[in-house]
Every structure is written in structure tokens, then in C-alpha cells.
């Protein structure tokens, strides 16, 4: 039987790498029986989703879009022009 420390390690590997078919089965079984690890799994996925979010994911949520300072933009244009 998988213990919780091992289960959370498998969840980590699942998110950031990969786990084998059998590891997946063992993990699923543990998650059915353990409320805490079940929560850990969905919460980790949520955190992951937020860490990986891109501006494209957010445009439809009417999130305030940041604009790069006009001055900063000009600075960049100048630097690029210098390097031509």
C-alpha cells in the first residue's frame, strides 16, 4: 500500500515528469482512499495551472492587461537600433 509521503512524490513526478502505468494505478487507488492526498492532487494541479498561465489564457477573463512603459519601449528600440 502506498503511504502519503510516497503518494505525494508520485503526484509531483506525474506533474513534472512522468510515471509508469502501474504507478498511475497505485496512485489512483490511494487517491480514492485518502481525502488529504486527493486534495493535494487537485490543489497541486491548480497551482500548476496558475504557474503555467499565459496572457492568452487570461484575455477572455477581462483581466487588466499590462502595458510596457512607453519610455521603456523606446529604450529598447534605441538599443536595438544601436546594434544594427
Amino acid at each position: 500500500m502506498l503511504d502519503c509521503k510516497s503518494a505525494t512524490l508520485l503526484i509531483t513526478k506525474k506533474l513534472d515528469g512522468s510515471i509508469s502505468f502501474w504507478e498511475r494505478i497505485r496512485l489512483k487507488t490511494h487517491l480514492w482512499n485518502c481525502k488529504f492526498c486527493y486534495n493535494f492532487n487537485i490543489q497541486s494541479e491548480k497551482i500548476d495551472a496558475v504557474l503555467k498561465v499565459t496572457p492568452d489564457d487570461l484575455t477572455h477573463k477581462c483581466r487588466h492587461q499590462h502595458h510596457l512603459d512607453a519610455k521603456k519601449k523606446q529604450e529598447i528600440i534605441d538599443k536595438l537600433t544601436e546594434n544594427q
Binding site: 503526484i11 509531483t12 486534495n39 490543489q43 497551482i47 510596457l68 529598447i76 536595438l80 546594434n83
Partner: protein, 186 residues
């Protein structure tokens, strides 16, 4: 006006992509200033490396891939500046006894009302704070894996750790970040 190198007009490039890149960087970095610097470095790198752009992806996709590498560099630089890389975080599991490797109840994941509308800005702030609690070297590893820019082998080579060590770090980081987010947010 001088003939643009390789047909790139700097002003066009910046007008077309700067805001998008800035928004992207802002989502991955702790401050406005860090995001500005990284965007600037991205344009400069891209410009210098324009020969490497084979047109097999869009310009935007290509710029984003450079941006991600510059974001990782930001965290790498930070890790190099700090000596303190020992984690004082205690794992939330019992060490020994009948309950060995099971959750310590007070620290176990509670129910989050996960379907409630999450303000990304709120969550992002909390996440950035929680990331700042990780030892710098662990934070680089975490960012490298999460931004999906680096394979496990690359991460290991860069930070000079073994594969087993990589997973230990990622495991601790995920536990620590989750616990911190729960404390701050609920």
C-alpha cells in the same frame, strides 16, 4: 533611416510584441522591474540571434521561447547571489511510529473552494510570495521544471544535482508551496 538588419524593424517588433512579452513575464516574475528587464534582454537576445530563427514557428512563439530562457536566467542569477540553500522546511508527515509517512493532520490539505472564481492577480501574488520562501537554488529548479523549458537532464546538469535529488527538491517545493498558499489564501 538605416536599412534594418535582416528586414527587422525594431520599432515594429517592439510595438507588436512588447506588451505581450511584458504581460507574460509579469506572470512569472516577482516584480514589474524584473519583467521590464527580462523583456529588454529578450529583444536584445532575439535580435542578436536572428539568424537562428528559421521561421518554423511564428515570430511570437520564438520570442516567447527566448523570454522563458531569460526568465530562468533571472532566477539563476538570483540563486548565484545567495549562499543560503538549505531548506528548513519540515515535511508535513510523521517521521516514525504507526503513522509514519502519513499526513500530520493540522498540516494536511484542507478543502479549497476550488470552483469559486479565482482572481489571478490575487492568486499570483500569493504564489509569488510562497515561491520567495523557497531556497533560491530550489526555486530555480522548480521554475525550470514548471516553465517546461528544461528536461530533467538539463536541470540536473545546470544545477549539478542527481536525478533523485531533483525529485526530492521538487517534492519538497510542491509540498511547501501548497502549504504556504493554503495558509495565506484560505
Amino acid at each position: 533611416m538605416a536599412t534594418p538588419k535582416h528586414g527587422i524593424d525594431p520599432e515594429q517588433w517592439v510595438q507588436n510584441y512588447a506588451d505581450y512579452l511584458y504581460n507574460y513575464a509579469h506572470l512569472k516574475l516577482p516584480s514589474k522591474e524584473a519583467a521590464e528587464d527580462v523583456v529588454q534582454e529578450t529583444f536584445l537576445s532575439a535580435f542578436k540571434g536572428i539568424k537562428n530563427f528559421k521561421g518554423d514557428s511564428s515570430e511570437k512563439t520564438w520570442l516567447v521561447s527566448i523570454l522563458k530562457r531569460r526568465i530562468v536566467d533571472y532566477y539563476r542569477k538570483e540563486a548565484r547571489r545567495h549562499e543560503q540553500n538549505i531548506s528548513s522546511y519540515q515535511l508535513p508527515f510523521y517521521d516514525s511510529g504507526d503513522n509514519a509517512n502519513h499526513w500530520i493532520e493540522q498540516r494536511a490539505p484542507k478543502n479549497w473552494d476550488i470552483d469559486r472564481q479565482i482572481s489571478y492577480d490575487e492568486f499570483h501574488k500569493v504564489l509569488q510570495y510562497c515561491l520567495s520562501l523557497l531556497p533560491p537554488k530550489h526555486r530555480v529548479v522548480f521554475i525550470m521544471k514548471v516553465l517546461d523549458e528544461c528536461s530533467s537532464d538539463e536541470v540536473c546538469a545546470e544545477v549539478q544535482i542527481s536525478a533523485a535529488n531533483l525529485w526530492t527538491i521538487m517534492h519538497r517545493a510542491r509540498l511547501q508551496v501548497r502549504e504556504c498558499v493554503e495558509k495565506k489564501w484560505l
